[in-house]
Amino acid sequence: MNSLIKISGFWRNYRLYSVLSGNVNRQNKTKFHLTLCVSNRYLFWERDRKGGYDTSHKISLLDHLKNGFKEITIESKLLGKEIKALIETDPLLVARPGEIDLLWCFNEPNVLDKFVTTSDSDHNQGYSTCSLEMSSAGRALFHGNLDMRVPKDGRIKKAGYAAMRSQRIRKSFKREATYDWHLYNTLVLKVRGDGRSYLLNISCEGYYDITWNDIYHYVLYTRGGPYWQISKIPFSKFVLGSKGRLQDKQNRMRPDKVTHFGISCGDKIPGKFNLEIEYIGLEFDPTHEEEFAYEMYKTDKYIVGV
């Protein structure tokens, strides 16, 4: 295995099996081709947080400098605000039971800017489309078309997802921050769906690469119809997955280091989907004492988690 690591280490185009662009194929005409595929599949080492999906803007150095100078004033103001808030406000020590603290209330269009939508057609890996817009009732509407067709490129086996995810929160000067939800134990959503089930994703990315894909999932069932529904989901019910695979060794979610929140649609039913969201909030429910909903068993060695 050691030799495999070395080979994939100096080769730049390490993600071969899911990137569709033609230039990858051109560069692959080397003797290491198959070995590279193997090393990609059988190693857990990650090069970057995006898993090889390049979504960055390409701008010139001059523009980059210009933008940087513009941002200095904005960031300084932000820093000032942060210092002021640190001096003025007391930290929250207890959450009032029965009260919902809103994370996002989708009553204004600018709240939608805090979210990013992705679907498999963005990376040429499918034909689904999605968008997040204001609905006619003045709420956020996550809608689109789910398409299960698989592009005929010989690499992709399954297709069909659409997702919205909050952008990473940050402090001034682009320092990354995390949400601290440790006061609460329940996630509350007021939604109006279409009878499909959606997936709630709470990312808890850590510093090391093995934690970059840690996402805690739970299902959001929707009733469908014109009536609003309020879903309260305790954090204890969330299950740990990595790259969409449920993990054998589960642990309870740590709500004090949350990096992203997202909702995705991928229930294998092709067609249009509509999810209207009024708010996403947090609640402390003192009657919910469960820490983790899933029991773990003691098994023989090398059966679980390998």
Binding site: S3, G138, P151, G195, R223, G225, P226, Y227
Partner: protein, 371 residues
Amino acid sequence: MAARILKTFLRARPSIITIKRFESNEKNVTLYDPFVNKPQKDKKTYLEAIKIFETRDTRRRGHVEFIYAALARMKEFGVHKDLEAYKALVDVLPKGRFIPTNIFQAEFMHYPKQQQCAVDLLEQMEDNGVMPDSEMEQMLLNIFGRRGIPLRKFWRMMYWMPKFKNLSPWLLPEKLPEDTLELAKMAIQRITSVDPEVKLDVWQTEEIEASLDKTWVVSAQSEVQKVLLAEQPSDIALVVKGPFSVYMKDQVVTYFTLIGKTRPEPKDDKDIDDVSDLQKPLGIPGFIGSTKIPSVKCSVHEQDDGTIVAVCATGTSSRDSLLSWIRLLEKYGNPLLSEIPVIFTLSAPSSDIAVQETQPAKQEETTKVNT
């Protein structure tokens, strides 16, 4: 001699050594496909084809390719949700042969192609929502032994699948009714389950003489909604909105709503601790005392984008059938509908749009910005 052997080993490219183990992992194109020429594609012929393969050759050559070919054709034969068919496929694998006999075999994935094939089979079961049973476990144990990777997949499935199987608060039966009327009834029942008082009615449009479409209407309305409709001022029009869709598993039911005027938000600035002026309760609208209901929101039907007065699904979802629905509502307990104007704000019926089945020839270059 030893030095020469060592030299060849050292000179060998690592790729050659490491590929050997994995290159057979790729699925190969099957040459023989017994499923193509079946005249009738159902469960019986599917199982027959598997039986023919089993009896044709005692060595069962190419059984992995056969299983992959059979898995790919399950939907065609309508057995993709059938546990029995999956069991028949697992049964194709020989018993005892693939069980590792020493720790090296157990550690280094004994018979990798066969194990991967069984894992893919289990994954297809998982994707189709088919839960394996203990007989399947016994079969896999006899084939791959306790250390086999398919067994791990099986145990994972048996841990997680029962946990999520009946989790939905609006649980649907395993098999949805084929009849569209029954399905529409289930859908309307589901979306109006917020209010347990809602009564479901199935009417025929034949009752209205002027109707063109002879079909059924599933309408849902509660007593509170009738009162809300009666409260509608006659100069403000009611609006029929739709078509909206609700998913019942993979079936889509189209429904329409009748929306009344938006009632104002409740404004409560009373001091609730002040007991000097207690009011007599007004009664329950529609049941006790005055039928007038307070001007504030008090039921689930009053939402800020309008008051939902009735919900329906019709057999054809056409404009004419909706007109008949309004007339039927008028006939059964909502006489005010004859005076209030009703606006139909319907988008074009979805059935008129042709669905493009083939893959688009060229994908537009979409440059979507993501962070």
